[in-house]
Each structure stands twice: as C-alpha cells, then as structure tokens.
Amino acid sequence: MSKWLPDGKERYKGEMLKLENICFEIDDKEILKNIDLEVDDRFVAITGPNGSGKSTLLKIIMGIQAPTSGRIWLDGTDITELSITERANLGISFAFQQPVRFKGLRVRDLLELAGGKKMSGKERFTHACDVLSEVGLCAKEYIDRELNDTLSGGEMKRIEIAMAAARGTKMTLFDEPEAGIDLWSFQSLIKVFEKLHQETDGTIMIISHQERILDIADKIIYLKDGEIIEYGEGKNVMRHLSLDESPSTCAKLQEKAGLAQREAN
C-alpha cells in the first residue's frame, strides 16, 4: 500500500483525509478522544452539541492546534508535523467562525492573495470580483472596502466564506458559517453551499447545525464529548440519532436547526 516519495514523505493511497487516533488534551481535559476518520466524500458536515470538539477537530486538520497524539494524512501525505503555511500550500483552506478584521487591508488584498500566484494581476482581480458576487456582495461596492469594523458581522462572514472558497483547494474547512450572520445572508448562504457542493472539485468539511446544510451533505459526522458517535450518510445519521442513542441531543439539534430555519423564513 505504501511507498516512499522522493522527498522522504511516506505516501499512502486512499482517502483525501485520514485521521489516525487523534487525541487532544488541554488542562488535563480531553477535548478529542482517539478520533479515527477517513474522508473521501465531497461534502461532509460535522455536527454535535457545543463543546463536543468540532472546532478543535477542524483546527487540528488545518494545523492551528497540534494534536496531543495521532497522525493526519492529506491525499496520501503525512501532514502531522507540517505548519499551517505548509498545509495551506498543500491544499487546505479554512473559513473561521469569527472572521478576523484588519486595519488597512482591503477585501481585494485578501481575495487576490486567495487567488494565488499562478494568476496574473488582472486575472486575480476578475476572480476576486467573481467570488464576491458568488456570496451575494456587489464587487464594485466591496472590493476596495477595508476589512475593518466598518463591515458588519454578516458582511465579514460572507467575505470569509468567499476567501476560503476562492483558494479552490482540495480541502476546504468551514467553521460554522451560519453563526453570526443576518437573516438575509442566511438564505444566500445556503445557496452558496449548494452551489459549492455542485461545482467544487475538492472536499468540503463544514461544521453546521443547519438542517439544510446537513441535508445536502454526502456524509454527516456526529461528534459528542470528543468522540465520533455517528459517521455516515445524512439520512441514516439523522434517523439513527432521532430514534436511538441520544434522543435529547438530537432533539436539541433539530430544534436548533428548525429555529434558525424559522428565523430565516
């Protein structure tokens, strides 16, 4: 199965992402417990109660947090020891739950950075305008805006999603994109992800409590207390959860999804 690559990295054939026995502890508290996971689908949603370790899991994949133990493989390359930068350049992107603001840096600066070095200046600019339109923002109006506190939370959030998607990497991680957005953007947000799902070549992993996001996922991971309780096709996971082991949690989950849905409508 495995062979050695010229650069000395062990390669294995198989999934886009593989986590092997990932543990994460902080202050003697186990946040993630022996996570084994293989992801090969194009759209995987991660759901579960607050504090279940969802964000930590994505941050460990991006390299923002280092696991206490375990190994991570991306498309056959062991990335466990790689920095955030190296992982980003290998093809992982990350959309933060709380987008970071920058004084002086404009929307176009970051979108053009996302476009990458391969594009010419003009191509990068056109690409930046295109992705802004995709998240429902008028490129003309937003491209030269500073990413400072003159932008609303909802606007920041949409730009954050655009930045991650604009990189067009083989793996894109979204940490709860629906959190903190206004009602209007909620509707367009769902459309953005439906479109991303249809058009993207890479794999999307998305933390969400939204029923409509969970609906379009190829697979759903249900995380609780740092463990994967369920991992499988959406309907099966939802049905299983609602009838079986953790009815209270799932009821809450459905309630939450329903509530947000009603708010959006």
Binding site: V100, G104, L105, A114
Partner: protein, 307 residues
C-alpha cells in the same frame, strides 16, 4: 546638474519620480538647487535672507502640482531649509515634498526643513511628504521637519506624511491654525526599527466656527526603537476635531502616545482615540491559512496598517 545613480534612486523613493516631473518643481540636492521649473501660475523664488525657496501659487490655479524633493547623498552634510508656500484663493493644487538621505559615510547627515503653508480662502491643498533614509555608514541620518499651516476661511488641506524606516532620529513638528469653515486632515505613518527614535508633535488650533480636523496617526515600532506621539487639538470656536493614534508594538519597541484636547468654546466637540497593541495572533494565523509564512503575514499586516 546631472544626478548620479544614488541621487536618482533617492528621488524615486521620496517623490516616485523616474524623470523630471511635469509642471513646477525644485529639486534640491546636497544643499544646492539641482533643477527647477516654474510655470505661469506657479513661481519658485530662491530666498535671499536664508536657505530655501518661496513657492507662490496664483489665485485660481486648479489641478496643478508642485514637486519639491530634497536629496542628500553626501555624508556629513547638515542643512536647515525654509520653504514657504503662498497659495492664493480658490486654488486646487497638489504639493509633493520629501527628503531622502543616503549616508554611507562616517559622519552624520542632517536635513531640517521648515515648510510653511499660507492657504488662501476656499483653496484646496493636497500635501504629500515622504521621508526616507538608506546607507550602510556609521554616520546617522537625521531629519527634523517642521510644518506650519495656516488655513484661511473655507480652505482645506489634506496632508499625507510618512517615514518608513531608515531615519535614525527625527523630531517632526506640525502646527496648524484653522479659520472659519477650514478643514484639515492629517494621515501620518511611521515605522521605526533598530535603535531609531522618532518623535511627532502635532498641534491643531481651530479658531473659526465650522472648522474641523481629522488626524490619523499610525505607527509601527520594531526592534529597540522608540516612538513618541503627541497629538493636541484645541477648539476655540464651534468646531469639531477627531484624532486617532494607533500603534503596533513589536520586539522591544517602546511607544509613548500622549493625547491632548483643549476646548475653550462650549460648541467645540473633540474626540481622541489612542491604542497600542501587538499584531493579533489570529491575524497572522488567518494569513498563514492562505499560504503565507509567519514573516510574510507579519509584513502584510504592517503594510496594510501603514497604507
């Protein structure tokens, strides 16, 4: 006078000039006038009582520019220059000044410039000033610019001043007096590194009803450098003033920000905001997730901050 390669590169740094500019200009190089051009509307006259020039802009001059860069490439040169701008009524002009010092020698080079602007009624002035230093010599690069601004009724001035590294010691003083409905905007940017020391003192006096000022000061202090910023706004009429002093501190840098507000009129509305902090870790992480190294991310944050 022919400029050598060092002088040409300095000229590009301070005035973004590859060739002689269009319109009126005066280029001062190593203490002498190296090139000058005047137009029908803009006259430049050498002072007779002290070093420097008078720049006289006729009333009604619109959409014209004046370049007055100063470059010093001789180690040990020290000069004190007075440039006075007399801007007539109803003008709309851009003035590009700046000083570049290249010191590869062992002696200190120093440029002290006093720029005075007398801006006539309803005139608009855009003023851009860049300070730049380079060179490997032990001799220091010193600059002490003073800017005096007098805005008549309805006049406005937009000042963009910057000093991005390279200057060992600087005291930059700006004093402005605003008349009725006059408006002043200052955007000041400074980056210090190594053992550099920079002090900026800005004082704006609003004496006319309806006058306003907006001062934004951005500083980055790296390594062992020291920055001091004093922004004083005085409201003596029905006026509004806003000052924002924002600094990024790095390494062993020291920043001292002193806000001063003084009001002598109940209809004066003055605001001062000051903040000092390091680059937020999450900003670096965000840029690293987009493929930049930590150093590249840091540079991008600073570049944006000082834009």
């Amino acid at each position: 006078m022919e400029l050598n390669a060092i002088q040409k590169s300095l000229l590009k740094e301070v005035a973004e000039l590859d060739a002689l500019p269009v319109g009126a200009y005066n280029i001062r190089s190593n203490g002498q006038s190296a090139a000058r051009n005047t137009t029908d509307e803009i006259d430049i006259v050498t002072k007779t009582d002290k070093p420097g020039i008078d720049i006289i802009i006729k009333p009604g001059t619109k959409k014209k520019s004046v370049h007055i860069p100063v470059i010093i490439s001789e180690s040990g040169l020290k000069e004190n220059v007075y440039n006075d701008f007399f801007i007539g009524e109803d003008c709309d002009v851009t003035i590009i000044a700046g000083c570049g010092i290249s010191n590869c020698g062992g002696e200190d080079s120093q440029h002290d410039g006093i720029h005075s602007f007398y801006v006539g009624k309803n005139s608009r002035v855009r003023y851009i000033e860049r300070h730049y230093g380079e060179g490997t010599g032990r001799g220091k690069r010193l600059m002490n610019p003073t800017t005096v601004v007098e805005l008549a009724e309805g006049a406005s001035m937009d000042m963009q001043t910057s000093q991005i590294g390279g200057i060992d010691d600087t005291l930059r003083v700006t004093n402005a007096v605003l008349g009725e409905n006059a408006s002043l905007a200052i955007h000041d940017k400074i980056l210090t590194e190594g053992e550099q020391h920079a002090k900026a003192e800005m004082h704006v006096e609003m004496n006319g009803d309806g006058s306003n000022c907006d001062i934004i000061s951005r500083g980055v202090a790296k390594e062992h450098s020291l920055q001091e910023v004093v922004i004083g706004i005085e409201g003596n009429a029905a006026c509004s003033g806003h000052a924002e002093c924002d600094s990024i501190i790095m390494d062993k840098g020291v920043i001292l920000a002193t806000p001063q507000l003084k009001a002598t009129n109940v209809d004066a509305s003055l605001i001062h905001e000051a903040a000092i902090g390091k680059i937020a870790g999450e900003q670096l992480i965000k840029l690293m997730t987009m493929g930049l190294t930590e150093k590249e991310a840091e540079d991008m944050v600073i570049q944006g901050f000082l834009r």
